[in-house]
């Protein structure tokens, strides 16, 4: 029997991610493009992931799109699902015992309760504002004139506690500017920013209740500074994976496999 390939595409607000799975198990290729919905990102990520796998569209049995920009792929995908279920499923692939997922994306922060087999059983999301999301970190990095990828390393060098009391992106921006003007060290401010995100999202997590294993997914989980601050805020160990950014796309590819199986069993 020849292999079954399924593709998951996760179009977020700031990045496009895609994964191709073989027989619903093995990741054969993955790609990320650092622009998301409404850009060339979705198209480029599909090109890249198929090229890396050496496959054509016809060789992929089922494609499932998720994420904020999933609607833009209506013609391309066979099905679509919310990023909530996909992240739960993807986290379960990476950590089979996962029960709680904290996913911080570009414009949403969510805490998911996950049942056996990665079934989404409950969730809480942030409110309309960007507080506690990846967008918040982007804005802060810009004011501090550093790259988002540098935030972790810089915060690790912090020597003093600085509190950023505003969670609102706009207010926090002026708060950070005034701290800079006062001569407070950048590294300490960054650590304060990480704690601010952790406080905000940690509050959401407490609302649904935390159970083991607690896993962080989404692009922001690549920033160990935020993960550490979150562990401190929740007083709880958090697991992450180098594949964390792909959790949604992996989940989507797994669901694609299930859908394919469902259709072909009938």
């Amino acid at each position: 029997m020849s292999a079954i390939y399924t593709m998951g595409i996760d179009i977020g607000s700031t990045a496009s991610k895609s994964v191709i799975l073989k027989d619903g198990k093995e990741i054969v290729s993955k790609a990320v493009i650092d622009v998301g919905a409404g850009t060339s990102g979705p198209k480029r990520v599909i090109e890249e992931v198929t090229k890396e796998a050496g496959l054509s569209r016809e060789e992929i049995s089922f494609i499932l799109a998720t994420g904020y920009g999933r609607n833009s792929l209506l013609e391309w995908a066979d099905h679509q699902m919310s990023e909530l279920s996909c992240h739960a499923k993807g986290a379960n692939y990476l950590f089979p015992n996962v029960r709680t997922v904290i996913d911080i994306g570009g414009q949403d922060a969510k805490v998911l309760k996950v049942g056996p087999n990665g079934v989404l059983s409950n969730f809480v999301m942030n409110d309309k504002c960007a507080a506690g999301t990846g967008r918040f970190l982007d804005v802060m990095a810009k004011i501090l004139e550093v790259k988002v990828s540098e935030l972790e390393g810089l915060s690790a060098q912090s020597t003093e506690d600085v509190s950023i009391s505003s969670t609102c992106t706009v207010f926090a921006e002026s708060e950070v500017i005034s701290q800079l003007a006062k001569g407070v060290h950048k590294n300490d401010i960054i650590k304060g920013i990480h704690r601010s995100v952790a406080g905000r999202v940690g509050g959401l997590a407490k609302r649904v209740g935390i159970e083991d294993d607690l896993v962080m997914t989404g692009g922001v989980a690549l920033n160990g500074g935020v993960v550490k601050a979150m562990e401190e805020a929740l007083n709880h160990e958090i697991k992450t994976s180098p594949l964390t950014q792909y959790a949604g796309a992996i989940g989507a590819a797994l669901f694609a496999y299930k859908k394919y199986e469902g259709v072909n069993k009938k």
């Binding site: 904020y68 699902m81 919310s82 990023e83 909530l84 279920s85 949403d108 049942g115 087999n117 079934v119 989404l120 059983s121 409950n122 969730f123 809480v124 999301m125 409110d127 309309k128 609302r207 649904v208 469902g262």
Partner: protein, 415 residues
């Protein structure tokens, strides 16, 4: 053949049209006519004892209803901006902002109504009302008649509270008699109370039909009929129209018909006031997934029955967002159980601070006590700036997926 036999039978208008006409004719047109005759017209908060004004023959119009209509017709943002320019903060309830802008002379073609000669405020709903109506009275230099209902921190109002409200009730009658220029006719008062009770009874009957599976109507329909129960509950025409609606729905139950035209895969409770400017957007992802709203907190809250004066006072103490939390939880969880919901969609209404304020705890209780899927979203009853369609869609989709997973688990398989 005689002529009479040949004449086509006059088709009976459906209750939903009759109800709409009652509000237009008996509330708004009646108020314009009274104004033309030189009679005083009042503005009233939604849960003020209108039985008094009805008995005195005074006409009232309703700022909250007007603001909802302006919001639904997409005038909310414009009016809110006027109010903000007048100094009313963006954090204040959008109904208040829209109406204060209108009171200040900013026109709203979406739902015009005559300016007030007196204002009636019962703060059973919230305390924002108090300041809102004080501002109206000051702007127009007109009398403000206030019935103060202290916040409910017990499940039922005690006798002291009822006596306290009764004192103000008697005083309100005296003040209104002065405005009307006549004494209150007790017979008319009793008639108004009886109409209000009849309307409430029929309205609650209408709401109760959502217990049937599948439901004989779309729960969102209730929002459309709310105008009558809020603005015209003491009128006979309202009672008749609601009785007709109840009959129509009973017929639907018998014949298996429904105004809900989609599959009923899932049933949810909708918590809070809908986002009037985005009704279509609220409805879309629900109907696409066959999710019918079979429980609504806001609608039955306006159907209160009473047998005597003390019970009338007690009925005016309760509003869905200002009852003590234990009562609020009990109230909602009962309709969730009775109406067989498998999910709850919670509107965090940025306008209504009292309502949104106790929602996180309410939401926690729903999850814990009912074990059903719950999702919350950010929105606003009349200010469109506080709603994001994409975020809403994701939350509804998540709610749907959890309901699907729960259903699959119940059916024994992991589909």
């Amino acid at each position: 053949m005689s002529e009479a036999i040949n004449k086509p039978a006059e088709e009976k208008k459906a209750a939903k049209y009759v109800l709409r006409e009652v509000v237009e004719r008996e509330v708004y047109q009646a108020a314009w006519d009274a104004k033309k005759r030189g009679e005083p017209v009042g503005w009233s908060s939604s849960k003020f004892p209108s039985e008094i004004t009805e008995a005195l023959g005074l006409n009232l119009v309703y700022p909250e209803n007007q603001a909802a209509a302006i919001g639904a017709k997409h005038g909310g943002e414009r009016m809110c901006e006027h109010a903000e320019a007048m100094g009313f903060d963006n954090d204040i309830c959008a109904y208040a902002r829209i109406n204060l802008a209108y009171a200040a002379g900013h026109e709203a073609e979406e739902k015009p109504m005559p300016q007030p000669d007196f204002v009636l405020c019962c703060n059973n709903i919230c305390n924002c009302m108090t300041k809102w109506y004080e501002n109206l009275a000051r702007m127009h230099n007109i009398p403000l008649i206030m019935i103060d209902v202290p916040y409910a921190n017990t499940k039922e109002p005690d006798q002291n509270k009822i006596d306290y409200i009764r004192g103000q009730f008697d005083d309100a009658i005296k003040q209104l008699e002065k405005i009307a220029g006549r004494k209150m006719d007790m017979e008319k008062f009793e008639e108004a109370c009886s109409n209000a009770n009849r309307a409430a009874k029929a309205w609650l009957k209408v709401c109760s039909y959502l217990q049937y599976t599948p439901a004989p109507f779309a729960g969102f329909d209730l929002f459309n009929h709310m105008a009558d129960i809020v603005t015209a509950r003491a009128k006979k025409a309202t009672a008749l129209a609601f009785e007709q609606l109840a009959d129509e729905l009973e017929e639907n139950v018998k014949t298996g018909k429904s105004t809900w035209k989609y599959d009923e895969n899932h049933r949810i409770m909708f918590e809070g006031i809908p986002c009037w400017p985005q009704l279509g957007k609220l409805f879309k992802p629900l109907k696409e997934r066959g999710i019918n709203t079979t429980a609504v907190v806001y609608a039955p809250a306006f159907g209160f029955e009473y047998n005597n004066m003390d019970e009338l006072m007690a009925a005016y103490c309760k509003a869905p967002n200002s009852v003590c939390i234990e009562k609020g939880v009990e109230w909602r969880e009962t309709i969730c159980k009775e109406n067989n919901v498998d999910g709850i969609l919670v509107h965090y209404n940025r306008s209504c601070k009292p309502w949104s304020g106790y929602m996180p705890e309410m939401e926690r209780r729903f999850r814990k006590d009912l074990g059903v899927a719950v999702a919350g979203f950010d929105g606003d009853q009349a200010d469109p700036r506080n709603f994001s369609e994409e975020q809403y869609n994701t939350r509804v989709e998540g709610l749907f997926e959890v309901m699907q997973a729960n259903k699959a688990a119940k059916e024994g398989g992991n589909k």
